[in-house]
Symmetry: C2
Subunit: 178 residues, 2 copies
Amino acid sequence: MELFEKTISSKSIYEGKVISLRLEDVELPDGQIAKRELIKHPGAVAILPITEEGKIVFVQQFRKALERTLVEIPAGKIEPEENKKHTAIRELEEETGYRANQFEFIQSFATSPGFADEVIHLYLAKQLEKVDHPALGDEDEFIDILECTIQEAEQLVADGRVFDAKTLYAILYAKNMK
Amino acid sequence: MELFEKTISSKSIYEGKVISLRLEDVELPDGQIAKRELIKHPGAVAILPITEEGKIVFVQQFRKALERTLVEIPAGKIEPEENKKHTAIRELEEETGYRANQFEFIQSFATSPGFADEVIHLYLAKQLEKVDHPALGDEDEFIDILECTIQEAEQLVADGRVFDAKTLYAILYAKNMK
């Protein structure tokens, strides 16, 4: 079966700093018309940083969308024209103060394919070194750092403090690497 | 450090069928004001269905946000007032024609905590039986079904046909179960 949905009309509702929203009428495979609400996002990177002692470096921050603090792996939006590996190196330093001597691509994934085009590119960072004067991150980001064994990370999942898909995937990935 | 962001003002930009968008001014821990673009979503369930032969049941559908066809585990939005386990049972039947005699909660997770409140509740479905006359799904959904071993699923990941976070997590989870 041909599953393609052809765009019949597209209307911009909002163009923001991070996301934009548009509404589209699409033609379904059976010729019917349906509405799609679509979010555009610039894409992001996430980093699974593992220290020499085998600990995962997490960041804790307040997430307004969920009205709660979450423990996550470091992540950040890709800036215009920015190479995504460079974004990952930059975000790791800004959010954790670490630089990695080994940086490896793991996997890219869409986060919410039902309504958003956001893709996260996940990297593994090893052979970490603390930077003396790390680059500063976004001025509207307030972050705490946690370093946890995989067992401790699994406890954070059980406690609900880790609660997002990229971080759950990264912890399971780290566990499988061993 | 107190990481909380207090809402100073909130403005609705769009109220849609699936998502809504609002803009908020928030007060940061240092007293500065920042803007947040926030998507509200009703939440969804996803199901990791495993057949008696140990195969994972996937659905293939066109995702307008990404302008491509993806292979994913079955999933769907929670209807108003609907119990989420019931959503999972309903979506499994509508999308795959299977009913499960064993249904277990695995994990809930936020998909895009930076801008959306969407939470997916993931269930494991086992002891599957084909239903003679399965309930029909949304009329704007066109879906193909695939049944794959874990090894075949990993090949779909390598080929990029599986490309979303919930499905990657589910495949890794299924692999770890064995």
